[in-house]
């Protein structure tokens, strides 16, 4: 989809630049690091992958959606990306957006915001070698937003746990039982 009027900007909600380098290999568009999860607070992102369509003037044409917008991570999924790619192509060429683009995304609750701040503090303390302090704030974050993957799952590798292990699947089951409380659009093909 090379086009002078279009650009993918990938943002890794991630602490581990080495892992991100592997995922970003051969990618030519900007891949940015967001270890402090600024984006999840600014855009109310609660899981990845999440895509936001932003027009030439900086207005959001289609808000947070759970889509695989690029080849990043595609090997981990069996989901089709072609429908989303077709929609993007149409938007780039004609400006037309799918019906779900008018969806209203629920704001973060105060607890969900506070969870992001506790996460940021925990990550900072961990970088400075204060594992106990980090653990205390990762726990506080998880209490405030127990079904937010950018909070609970992102913390797993930072606490020596696998983000693909038993604890993740337990949280995923709770998330699904709660009706997939994602701040954004979940396209029918992805649900």
């Amino acid at each position: 989809m090379a086009d002078d009027g279009f650009l993918v900007i990938a943002v890794a909600i991630d602490e581990n630049i080495d892992e991100v380098r592997v995922l970003a290999e051969n990618i030519t568009y900007p891949v940015l690091m967001d270890p402090d999860h600024i984006l999840t607070e600014l855009y109310a992102i609660s899981n990845v992958p999440a895509v936001v369509w932003i027009d030439e003037d900086g207005r959001i044409s289609r808000p947070n959606a759970y889509e695989f917008g690029s080849d990043l991570l595609s090997e981990f999924t069996g989901r089709t990306r072609s429908a989303h790619f077709d929609q993007i192509r149409e938007w780039v060429h004609s400006g037309a957006v799918p019906e779900d683009a008018s969806s209203q995304i629920a704001d973060l609750s105060e607890d969900e915001v506070a969870a992001r701040l506790h996460f940021r503090l925990a990550a900072h303390l961990r970088r400075n070698g204060d594992e106990d302090g980090a653990s205390r704030h990762f726990d506080a974050a998880a209490r405030l937003a127990p079904l937010d993957f950018t909070v609970v799952r992102a913390a797993m590798p930072l606490q020596g746990e696998s983000p693909f292990g038993e604890e993740f699947f337990k949280i995923l089951a709770e998330y699904e039982a709660a009706g997939t409380p994602f701040h954004g659009i979940i396209p029918a093909s992805e649900a």
Binding site: M33, L39, V52, I54, Q104
Partner: protein, 135 residues
């Protein structure tokens, strides 16, 4: 006096003191700490001012409580006095403008080589913002 660490868009420090778990700084130090300045008309930043009445909500003696200042301008905080840290979140209004008014919040982040990119560097293009991770 001690050093208060402020985790905002960047890691900053301010000279101040902790009193009953509250992070206090001299009014002169406020702007460098949180980007807001206390003026007669209120807390001001760029061309915007927020009224703070008689200031009693943000003052402790002749000092200012950083968390109370943030609260007054609707920026969330988490305070850990043991660690000596105030986490200063993004203005709630910025996210609400994204969700309600569709104004994409600007941000600046480094790429894998450390080069900074702003979303607004790419104004004039349609942009697909993709949040992803290794976890």
């Amino acid at each position: 006096m001690t050093t208060i660490t402020i985790l905002g868009d960047e890691v900053a420090t301010a000279t101040g003191e902790w009193a009953d778990g509250r992070p206090l700084v001299e009014p002169d130090a406020l702007s460098a700490a949180v980007g807001w300045t206390l003026k007669p008309e209120g807390l001001c930043r760029d061309d915007q001012c927020v009224l703070v009445g008689d200031g009693s909500a943000i003052r402790v003696g002749d000092k200012l409580d950083l968390a109370a200042v943030a609260n007054a301008v609707d920026q969330p905080t988490v305070v850990d006095s043991d660690a000596g840290i105030v986490v200063l979140g993004q203005p709630n209004a910025t996210r609400q403008a994204a969700l309600r008014d569709r104004q994409a919040p600007d941000f600046t982040l480094a790429d894998l080589d450390g080069t900074l990119h702003r979303l607004s560097d790419y104004t004039g293009k349609k942009r697909l913002l993709v949040a992803f991770s290794s976890w």
